[in-house]
C-alpha cells in the first residue's frame, strides 16, 4: 500500500501522466470538433499515423520542429478534407468512410515511409522537442517537473484546450458548430452554410488529431515505427463520449487516462513478479471500454451525429 502512496506522491508519476495524456488531448479535441459538427471521424487512427509520419519526416528532411508540426497538421487536415468530402458533400456512411480513411491514411503513410527509407535496419532518429527549461519555474519543487519540464507540445495541447473551449463557448462560430451538429436545418435557415461549417470542423479536427500523432514521433519518441499509434485514436473516440463533447471534460478525461496508464506502468514494476505484464498492457483499453459503458446511457450525443444533410432534399 505504501508503494502505491509513494507513486502518487512522486512528481515523476504526475509528469508521466501529463505526458501520456498529451497525444490523447489532441485526439479528443479533434474528435470533439468533428462530432460537435455532426460528423463521426473514425479516420482518427489513420490520421494519427499520418501525423506521426509526416511530422517526423519533415524534420528528418530538414524542417525545424515547428515546421514539422505545421506539416503534420496540414497532412491531417488533408485527410480530414477527404473524409469531409465523402461524408458531408456526398453524405456517405460516416462509419465506413472513416474506416476507409484510416486504412488509406495509414497505408499511405507506411508506403511513403518505406519508399523514402527502403532499407534501414534501425529507424533513423531526429532531434525531438526537449523538455522546457524555464528559469525558476522548472526548478520549483513538484510543480516544476510536472508542469514546466514538459515539452512545448504538451503546452500546445493545453493551450489548444483553451482555444477550443473559447471557440465553442464564447464565439458565434462555436454556437454555429454546435447548432449544425444538433439540427443542420436550423443553421441553413439562418443563412449559414451547413457544408462549410461541417467541412471546416472536420478539417480542423483532423489537423488536431494529426498533432496527436506528431507528438509521438517528435516529442515522446524520436523516430517513426509501424504500429506505434496502437489504438490511441480509438481511445480518443471513447474518451470524447466520456467527456460529453466538452473541451474541459475532454482534458480531464485524457488526464485521468494518462494517470491510469502511468500508474499501470508503475504497478507493473511493483507487481510484475505475480501478475503477467500483459494484464497491465490491457488496462488502457479495458479502462476505455469501462468509461464508455459508464456514460453510455446518459451520453448526450449531438442529435445530428451520423446524419447526412442535403440542401433542399425532402
Amino acid at each position: 500500500m505504501m508503494d502505491i502512496l509513494n507513486i502518487f506522491l512522486s512528481d515523476s508519476f504526475w509528469a508521466a501522466s501529463l505526458r501520456i495524456a498529451t497525444p490523447l488531448i489532441f485526439g479528443v479535441l479533434g474528435a470533439l470538433l468533428c462530432e460537435r459538427a455532426g460528423v463521426l471521424n473514425l479516420g482518427i487512427e489513420g490520421i494519427f499515423v499520418v501525423g506521426a509520419m509526416t511530422g517526423w519526416m519533415a524534420v528528418w528532411l530538414g524542417a525545424n520542429l515547428w515546421g514539422g508540426i505545421i506539416i503534420a497538421a496540414m497532412a491531417g487536415g488533408l485527410f480530414g478534407l477527404f473524409h469531409a468530402i465523402l461524408t458531408v458533400i456526398f453524405g456517405l456512411s460516416q462509419h465506413v468512410s472513416g474506416l476507409g480513411i484510416t486504412l488509406f491514411a495509414s497505408s499511405a503513410a507506411s508506403f511513403t515511409y518505406r519508399t523514402a527509407l527502403p532499407q534501414v535496419s534501425s529507424p533513423p532518429r531526429i532531434e525531438p522537442f526537449r523538455a522546457l527549461d524555464i528559469p525558476i519555474l522548472s526548478d520549483l519543487p513538484f510543480i516544476g517537473p510536472v508542469l514546466f519540464q514538459q515539452t512545448a507540445m504538451t503546452w500546445l495541447a493545453l493551450f489548444l484546450v483553451a482555444v477550443v473551449w473559447w471557440v465553442m463557448e464564447k464565439t458565434a462560430l462555436g454556437v454555429a458548430i454546435k447548432a449544425v451538429g444538433d439540427n443542420p436545418e436550423a443553421v441553413n435557415a439562418q443563412g449559414l452554410s451547413v457544408v462549410k461549417l461541417r467541412m471546416g470542423s472536420v478539417i480542423a479536427g483532423s489537423a488536431l488529431m494529426a498533432l496527436g500523432g506528431a507528438f509521438l514521433t517528435m516529442s515522446a519518441f524520436d523516430a517513426f515505427f509501424f504500429g506505434m499509434v496502437n489504438g490511441r485514436g480509438w481511445i480518443c473516440i471513447a474518451l470524447v463520449i466520456f467527456a460529453s463533447w466538452q473541451p474541459g471534460k475532454a482534458l480531464m478525461g485524457a488526464l485521468l487516462f494518462g494517470m491510469f496508464d502511468a500508474l499501470q506502468v508503475r504497478l507493473q514494476t511493483e507487481a510484475g513478479a505475480f501478475i503477467p505484464g500483459q494484464v497491465f498492457l490491457m488496462a488502457p483499453y479495458v479502462l476505455s471500454i469501462i468509461a464508455l459503458v459508464i456514460v453510455a446511457r446518459k451520453a448526450d450525443y449531438p442529435r445530428a451525429l451520423l446524419t447526412p444533410w442535403f440542401k433542399g432534399q425532402r
Binding site: K170, T171, A172, L173, V175, A176, K178, A179, G181, D182, N183, E185, A186, V187, N188, A189, Q190, G191, L192, D300, P302, R303, K311, G312, R314
Partner: protein, 514 residues
C-alpha cells in the same frame, strides 16, 4: 376570432414570385406559379397536403433551388431586386423571414443563441449580446410574443418554440413573414393569440404569407387567398369575397364531402387501463394516473397538443412503453409485460404516428412490409424459411383490396407516396381483424381523398366491432371521427362531453387560461 381588416386600398407591391417551378424526380411539385404580395396584407396560401405550398415557400426562402422562375422583391421606393436562387442568406438580406412547419431550432442551444445564430460575425470575440437583448425585449413587448431567452430550446413547450421561430424572423427585421402551418401544434386559444399579435404587426406594415389547409382559420385571419392544387395556382380572391364551397372545389378539384359519422354502438369493453403511470417518452410527458375503458364498436378520440403524453400513451398501447404502476388489460386479460409482439397477439393493431420511421422498412419490398408483423404465421414461413409465393399472393390481394398503388409488390416501399404507405399500413393492420386499433395521427400529411379513405376504413373497422383509439392533434379530425372525446393534457386524460371547439381548446390548455 378576429375579423380581417376591412380597409381595402390598393397597396404597393412588396414581393412577386414569377413562374416558380420545381420537380422532385418525376413529381412536379410546383408548376409555373405566379404570386404577388402587397405591403401590409395577409395572404393565405391554401391547398391540400402535397399541393406545393411548402415547396413554393422553400423556393422563396432559398431552401430549394427552383428549376425555373424568379423571386422579385420591392423596397419602399418600389425599386425591384431579383433574388439569387437557392440562397437563404439572400432571402434573409431581403428581409424575408420564414417560420417553418418543422421547427428549425437547435435544441441544445439557448433561445438567445438560436435567435442570434447567423447574425453575428463568426469569430468576433466581442459579441454584443446586450443590445441584442434590448432589441429582443422591445420586440417581445411590441409583438406580445415572449420567450425565455436563456432557456435551452429543448426545455420549451411547442407553443414557446413557435414564438421563438417568429421572434427569429422579427429580430432580423423581417418585413415579409412566411408562416407555414403555424397552428398545427397550438391549442385554439394559443392560435388566436398568435393571430392577434401578427395582425397588430401587419397593421404596422408587415406583410404575411400564411400557409394552411384549415379553411376556418384562413377565412378568419387573411385578407386575400390564393389556392394551389397539384403544384398549380387554381384561384385567387379577396377573403371577403370568398365562398367556402368554391374554395374547396379549387383545392380538391371536385366537390368534396368528408365522410359523415354515424354514431357507433359500443359493446363489450376491449381495453382497460387502470391507474396507469409511465415514464416520459420521446420528449413528451409520461402518463399520470390514466384510467380508460375502450369498448368494441366505438371510436375514442384523444385530442390535445402533442408532447402532453400522446407518445407515452401510444407507446403503451403499441407495447413499446411499460407502465411504471397500474395495469393494462385487453379483452379482460391483464397484460403482464407489454411488448409489441404481445400486443399484436392480444389483437391490437397499431397505426404509428410516424409512418416512415416506425411504420415501414422503406428499403424492403411492399410484400415484405405487408407480412412483417406476422413472421411466425404458417402462411408466411415454414420451418423458418419464408414462403415467398404465399407472401406474394398475400401482397397482391392486399394491394388490390386496399388500393395500394405503386411500382409493384416487389418494389422498395420507399417508392410509394405517403398516402399509399398509409394504405399499406392500414392493409397490414386491418387484415388481421384486430379487436383494438390504435390510429395515431392517421391522416397527417395526407390529401383529402387519402384522408377520407383512411377515415372510412376506420368507420368500417368500428362497425365490424373493433374498438378504435384515434390520437390526433387536429381537433377537426377528432370532432369528425370520434364517438367519444378525451383530452390529453400534462399526462392526464380527461373525458369531455362537449363538442365545442372553445371548451375542448380550454381543456387542451389545461383549463387554466380564460
Amino acid at each position: 376570432m378576429l375579423s380581417p381588416s376591412t380597409t381595402k386600398v390598393e397597396k404597393p407591391l412588396i414581393l412577386s414570385l414569377r413562374g416558380m417551378t420545381k420537380h422532385f424526380g418525376p413529381v412536379i411539385a410546383a408548376d409555373a406559379i405566379d404570386l404577388d404580395l402587397q405591403r401590409g396584407e395577409v395572404l393565405a396560401l391554401l391547398g391540400e397536403n402535397g399541393a406545393g405550398k411548402t415547396t413554393l415557400m422553400n423556393m422563396l426562402f432559398g431552401q430549394y433551388t427552383p428549376d425555373a422562375g424568379s423571386v422579385h422583391v420591392f423596397n419602399e421606393d418600389g425599386q425591384e431586386t431579383v433574388l439569387p436562387s437557392g440562397q437563404p442568406q439572400a432571402a434573409i438580406d431581403a428581409r424575408i423571414g420564414m417560420v417553418h412547419q418543422h421547427f428549425t431550432l437547435a435544441e441544445n442551444l439557448s433561445v438567445l443563441d438560436n435567435i442570434l445564430l447567423g447574425t453575428e460575425a463568426l469569430l468576433s470575440a466581442r459579441r454584443n449580446r446586450k443590445s441584442a437583448r434590448q432589441k429582443l425585449s422591445k420586440l417581445m413587448h411590441d409583438s406580445g410574443l415572449t420567450a425565455p431567452l436563456d432557456t435551452r430550446v429543448r426545455d420549451l413547450t411547442v407553443g414557446e418554440r413557435q414564438r421563438v421561430e417568429i421572434l427569429k424572423a422579427l429580430y432580423r427585421d423581417a418585413r415579409i413573414l412566411v408562416l407555414d402551418e403555424p397552428t398545427a401544434v397550438l391549442t385554439p386559444q394559443e392560435a388566436d393569440m398568435m393571430f392577434a399579435s401578427i395582425r397588430a404587426m401587419v397593421d404596422d406594415g408587415l406583410s404575411v404569407i400564411f400557409i394552411s389547409h384549415k379553411l376556418h382559420e384562413v377565412l378568419a385571419f387573411s385578407d386575400r387567398i390564393a389556392v394551389l392544387r397539384h403544384g398549380c395556382k387554381t384561384g385567387e380572391m379577396n377573403t371577403k369575397d370568398a365562398d367556402t364551397s368554391s374554395i374547396i372545389r379549387m383545392m380538391v378539384g371536385a366537390d368534396h364531402e368528408a365522410p359523415t359519422r354515424v354514431h357507433g354502438i359500443p359493446k363489450q369493453p376491449i381495453l382497460n387501463l387502470a391507474n396507469v403511470n409511465t415514464k416520459p417518452s420521446k420528449g413528451g410527458q409520461g402518463l399520470q394516473d390514466v384510467n380508460l375503458t375502450v369498448h368494441a364498436g366505438e371510436i375514442v378520440g384523444v385530442a390535445g397538443v402533442s408532447g402532453n403524453g400522446q407518445s407515452a400513451f401510444a407507446g403503451l398501447i403499441s407495447g413499446l412503453v411499460q407502465p411504471t404502476t397500474g395495469h393494462v388489460s385487453v379483452n379482460d386479460q391483464v397484460i403482464q409485460k407489454l411488448t409489441p409482439k404481445v400486443m399484436l397477439n392480444a389483437g391490437v393493431g397499431r397505426i404509428p404516428e410516424d409512418r416512415h420511421h416506425d411504420g415501414i422498412v422503406s428499403n424492403m419490398s411492399v410484400a415484405e412490409n405487408l407480412v412483417i408483423e406476422r413472421l411466425d404465421k404458417p402462411d408466411v414461413q415454414q420451418n423458418g424459411f419464408l414462403r415467398k409465393a404465399s407472401i406474394a399472393d398475400n401482397a397482391r390481394n392486399l394491394t388490390q383490396n386496399y388500393d395500394v398503388r405503386g411500382p409493384g409488390i416487389n418494389a422498395r416501399s420507399a417508392l410509394l407516396s405517403g398516402g399509399n404507405i398509409q394504405k399499406l399500413i392500414l392493409a397490414r393492420v386491418l387484415e388481421t381483424n384486430p379487436d383494438l386499433i390504435l390510429a395515431n395521427q392517421p391522416t397527417r400529411g395526407l390529401d383529402f381523398k387519402a384522408a377520407s379513405d383512411v377515415s372510412l376504413r376506420l368507420f368500417e373497422a368500428r362497425d365490424r366491432g373493433a374498438g378504435v383509439i384515434l390520437i390526433s392533434e387536429d381537433l377537426d379530425e377528432v370532432l369528425s371521427l370520434a364517438d367519444r372525446i378525451l383530452v390529453m393534457h400534462d399526462g392526464q386524460l380527461t373525458e369531455t362531453d362537449s363538442r365545442d371547439r372553445t371548451v375542448i381548446g380550454l381543456a387542451m390548455a389545461g383549463g387554466e387560461q380564460q
